[in-house]
């Protein structure tokens, strides 16, 4: 029986399975993966009062101890409804997200009824090494397991789907077959989970996998009271291979390592520790940093220092050895994880509706990358000024607590005659109140000046006026004509 054979593969090691598949009947409970049906509905940042059409996806999840199912965070981003489904019986159970980390691209689900997973054997999470043969698990339409052999070729730090996150990744080579519902595919070695498939390039047959160490870090954090996430130092660095640069920095020919700090972010761990642009980073803890920014890891060999930092915990103290003005120093650094809300232009906005305020017919929003991404290829298509602000935000905006309030579009109304063409403008003040977030708009419009709302922009036309009384009267009409559920959506009362 074909199914039985494949189930054995799951049970035994993948490698063994390919060598000599023993034909032994195995009970269903041995499958350690479930189907996950997700219906996601993202907010439409062009029409911040609306959501896009819902999209349903079928995926796989790895059953872990504690009645948990591990999937990628991408699967559950903006999810309205989640459901677990047993592969063979088709039995279904609603589920919910218990912990999610969009940066690490991992989410932990729990079925609404805890005993749903009781007949399944949870997978343990185990590390793998370069050269290991591993198995990629998918499900056939019948519920049978489809196993594809893969070789772990590389362990390196690569970018994760949230653009500016980079974490450890296993790279496999495998020729995967496409199966419906193959999202969040588990990768297994000797019956233990070594990772979740993150992306697959059909042309090069490269598979990028979220590896066991990242999963372990996530699970460890998820089990603690406070989910701290993956910390960062908050620096950018450049290699120091150029002998002319090395001599300039005071590194003699007898030395070989060290990287040049090219950016120290405001409010970051590194800044708080007193690190500066121009410092040469020589070592983190007891690990020497080479001229390319790698250190020697006992498991993976040479690998980026980004992993060394990310493998620590939020709040953990590490010493950074640096060279400044040709003299070595050691600085204690308390690593912190910086949350998306701390950025001027937030790198991602998931599971949170966009805030907006419609005044007269002027739609005011906060500039975010999620808004830019509504353009699709936003680097080329979104307003260039906004793209520039986003890309160089650490350089341009010194006050990280501030947000940019922008006029995204005008819903033509009696109040906005002559303003119809205005869009993509940064709003600096309303009624002389400087705006640091869209929530400030409510406060600002409460105090009209001589019966007018004065709205100031960073660039042309610099200032426009609305009739305060007319603006108030237009609210109902705007809501009716454009089908707005509310004239504004603001966040919870601001933190301070």
């Amino acid at each position: 029986m074909r199914n039985a054979t494949l189930l054995v593969c799951a049970w035994l090691s993948a490698a063994a399975c390919f060598a000599a598949p023993p034909a032994k009947a195995v009970k269903e409970q041995h499958i350690s993966i479930v189907r996950v049906n997700a219906t996601n509905q993202a907010w439409d940042f062009f029409h911040p009062w609306s959501k896009h059409a819902p999209v349903s996806r079928r995926a796989l999840g790895a059953v872990l101890a504690g009645d948990h199912v591990l999937v990628t965070a991408e699967l559950v981003a903006n999810a309205n409804y989640l459901e677990l489904e047993k592969a063979e019986s088709g039995e279904r159970m609603p589920a919910h997200v218990e912990v999610v980390d969009y940066e690490a691209n991992l989410a932990l689900l729990k079925p609404d009824s805890a005993d749903f997973l009781r007949d399944m054997k949870p997978l343990e999470v185990k590390d793998a090494a370069v050269g290991d043969r591993v198995a990629v698990w998918q499900l056939e339409a019948t519920g049978a397991l489809l196993i594809t052999d893969a070789l772990l070729t590389t362990v390196e730090v690569t970018r994760y789907p949230i653009d500016d996150t980079a974490l450890l990744t296993y790279r496999l080579t495998s020729s995967l077959q496409y199966r419906e519902g193959s999202f969040t595919v588990p990768v297994v070695k000797n019956g233990s989970l070594v990772g979740l498939l993150m992306r697959y390039d059909t042309r090069t047959q490269n598979v990028d996998v979220i590896p066991a160490p990242v999963i372990d870090h996530f699970l460890h954090d998820a089990a603690s009271k406070h989910y701290g996430g993956f910390p960062r130092a908050g620096v950018l660095f450049a290699p120091m291979r150029d002998p002319q640069l090395r001599r300039h920095a005071g590194l003699g020919p007898e030395t070989s390592g060290g990287v040049f700090l090219t950016q120290v972010q405001k409010g970051s761990a590194a800044e708080q520790a007193g690190m500066r642009v121009g410092d040469v980073l020589l070592a983190i803890g007891d690990k020497a940093i080479d001229q390319d920014g790698n250190y020697l890891d006992k498991l993976y060999g040479k690998i980026s220092l980004v992993h060394l930092i990310a493998s620590k915990n939020d709040g953990e103290k590490v010493s950074f050895k640096i060279l400044r003005d040709h003299a070595p120093q050691t600085l204690p650094v308390t690593l912190i994880h910086r949350v998306a809300e701390d950025y001027v232009i937030e790198p991602y906005t998931i599971d949170r509706p966009p805030k907006y305020y419609v005044i007269g017919g002027l739609v005011l929003q906060e500039l975010s990358r999620q808004y830019l991404k509504e353009w699709g290829e936003y680097l080329k298509k979104a307003p260039e000024r906004f793209v520039y602000y986003d890309r160089y935000q650490t350089e341009i905006f010194k006050d990280a607590r501030k947000k940019l309030v922008v006029l995204s579009q005008v819903l033509p109304s009696a109040s906005t005659v002559g303003y119809e063409e205005l869009n993509y403008l940064v709003v600096t003040k309303i009624n002389d109140v400087p705006l640091t977030r869209v929530d400030d708009v409510a406060r600002a419009v409460a105090n009209s000046v001589n019966g007018f709302h004065k709205i100031e922009f960073e660039e042309n036309p610099r200032v426009i006026y609305l009739d305060a009384k007319q603006t108030a009267e237009d609210e109902k009409l705007l809501m009716r004509n454009y089908g707005l559920p509310a004239i504004s959506r603001l966040g919870a009362l601001s933190a301070e």
Partner: protein, 544 residues
């Protein structure tokens, strides 16, 4: 004034500018604003193998032309035209920004021109741009004459040629100019479309009279007349006639895939202005108030600014610090009148019975002329007089012609100032460079950086083998000296120092070059890359 300068979004078109991606902002409200790509210009390039901009256009037009039916009727003016129409064969040399020490590729093309009074030949600037040799032929004369460019105006795409040989003007009759033809009236276009040796004529009617972007410079807008006569490459510079008088110079149009039967001619007010401007021997260019304005059509805005409900006035929304209005006009001023003309709330004025953009008042003036503005400032009416001058930063965003690329080469590092032509040559997409270029005027980047100097290339050599990642960086300082112009680069690198520490904007790590290493590599790099000259600080091209 809402200067007839075209903003980026209206003008960039994917078909023609592969290097500048269209930034068509998706309209969240599904406002379908159709913005046409710039028309192409009409000199026929004969050098088909060079896939230059002009050549692509020529091919495009060659195909389009085949489907156009031949003109059915030759107007009587034909005989007179034969005495005036000139065929211009051009040999041009286009600047090569990527290898700036080379003299550039040589191309040839054909355009038209015509004799005007004062023993001159009028044609389009784009017909004779970058020209190294001009060969002129008359309709009834087997001889070829050598001509030179006397005046060239890239901002309005016109040029005047002179011919040394006095025989050239024998048996020619200068053409006279008419006015602006009526809409729907018939006109005839003369020239050498698709490069033929004999005169060709097509006819059509006047379709529209409006401000239009002049593709040759790309940043200028002037009055232009749209006609539906077939205009093709080779028509450029030829006269458009009505009742025996010149009513325009054919200059640009669209390929069939964009719009059918849409050709443009430069009308006589623009030609007249050019001829008057050069009458003192120097072309001073079009002038500009260098302010932007916002239409005051919103009732609340009008009341807030203290304006009556009379549809008058526009608000000044920016004043370029490098322009002639700096210190005279302020943001928030309301312009009520320009010279004697009241300004409507949509920035139009009545001029000789026609409603035209207020910019037209300035368009007709010259360098040093006064513009009298009636202004409402802080609810007080005042008069402000602005003496017109050109704002230098604008030229950086225009296409460049007749210039030799400027550069400094040091240790295999090539430093060049950014210009539109430079960006097109390099097909540069870098976000920071793009922002500095596109917002050069709007954000007054020019105050800190009158020139944007970038490290445009690294010619690989052992001394710079680790410096490739600095490519496309914008220079900030060299050994502590702020870099504002290319001359600053040359001066800073001329100062003796053991090492040159070059800092680029937004790049935390310095670029370090040791003098001894640079000196040792100098001849090696020159030899290896056939560098004819290590720097060129002046853009003058000398053509005799």
């Amino acid at each position: 004034m809402n200067k007839p300068r075209v903003s980026r979004d209206e003008i960039f078109a994917p078909e023609f500018f592969a290097c500048s991606p269209p930034r068509t902002h998706r309209q969240p409200l599904d406002k379908r604003v159709y913005s046409a790509p710039p028309p192409v210009i009409f000199r026929l390039s004969m050098t088909r193998i060079v896939l230059s901009f002009a050549a692509v256009c020529a091919l495009r037009f060659a195909f389009a032309a085949e489907t156009d039916s031949a003109p059915t009727k030759l107007p009587n003016a034909g005989a007179a035209i034969r005495k005036s129409l000139i065929r211009i064969a051009v040999t041009e040399q286009e600047a090569n920004y990527k290898v700036p020490w080379t003299p550039g590729n040589i191309n040839s093309g054909v355009g038209a021109g015509f004799v005007i009074d004062g023993q001159r030949v009028l044609t389009n600037a784009h017909v004779v741009s970058n020209a190294r040799f001009l060969g002129l032929e008359k309709e009834n004369d087997p001889k070829k004459y050598v001509a030179t460019v006397e005046h060239i105006a890239h901002d309005c795409d016109l040029a005047v040629l002179k011919v040394a040989d006095p025989d050239f003007f024998k048996n020619t009759a200068p053409l006279n100019f008419g006015g602006i033809p009526q809409i729907e009236s018939q006109v005839s276009v003369y020239g050498y479309p698709i490069g033929g040796d004999r005169m060709s004529v097509t006819t059509g009617i006047v379709s529209r009279i409006d401000f239009q972007a002049y593709t040759h410079s790309l940043v200028d807008q002037h009055l232009a007349i749209q006609i539906d006569a077939a205009i093709n490459p080779g028509n450029s510079g030829g006269p458009v006639m009505q009742e025996g008088k010149v009513v325009g110079v054919a200059f640009q149009g669209y390929g069939g895939e964009v719009a059918q039967n849409v050709g443009y001619m430069i009308p006589t007010p623009v030609i007249g202005r050019f001829l008057k401007d050069i009458s003192d021997g120097v072309y001073d260019k079009y002038m500009d108030l260098s302010v932007s304005t916002f239409n005051l059509q919103n009732p609340a805005m009008r009341r807030a600014l203290g304006l009556a409900d009379d549809d008058r006035g526009v608000m000044v929304s920016s004043v370029a610090s490098a322009g002639c209005s700096a210190g005279k006009l302020k943001v928030g001023d309301v312009l009520l009148g320009i010279d004697e003309h009241p300004i409507a709330s949509d920035a139009f004025v009545d001029l000789e019975g026609e409603r035209v953009q207020m910019a037209e008042v300035v368009e007709r003036k010259f360098k040093g002329d006064d513009v009298k503005l009636h202004v409402l400032r802080d609810k007080q009416e005042i008069d402000v007089t602005v003496k017109l001058d050109a704002a230098w930063p604008f030229s950086m965003q225009a296409n460049e012609y007749d210039v030799a690329p400027r550069y400094v080469l040091f240790g295999g590092l090539l430093f060049q100032p950014v210009s539109r032509s430079f960006l097109e040559n390099y097909q540069l997409e870098d976000l920071r460079v793009r922002y500095f270029f596109d917002f050069f005027i709007a954000d007054e980047i020019y105050r800190e950086h009158p020139e944007i100097i970038i490290l445009s290339a690294v010619l690989p050599d052992p001394i710079n083998t680790y410096l490739g990642e600095f490519k496309n960086g914008i220079l900030d300082e060299i050994n502590g000296d702020k870099i504002k112009t290319l001359d600053d680069v040359a001066n800073a690198l001329r100062k003796p120092a053991d090492e040159y520490v070059i800092r680029l904007i937004g790049v935390g790590r310095p670029l370090v070059l040791e003098r001894a290493a640079v000196e040792a590599a100098r001849e090696r790099i020159k030899m290896r890359y056939n560098v004819l000259k290590e720097q060129n600080l002046r853009d003058t091209v000398n053509v005799e």
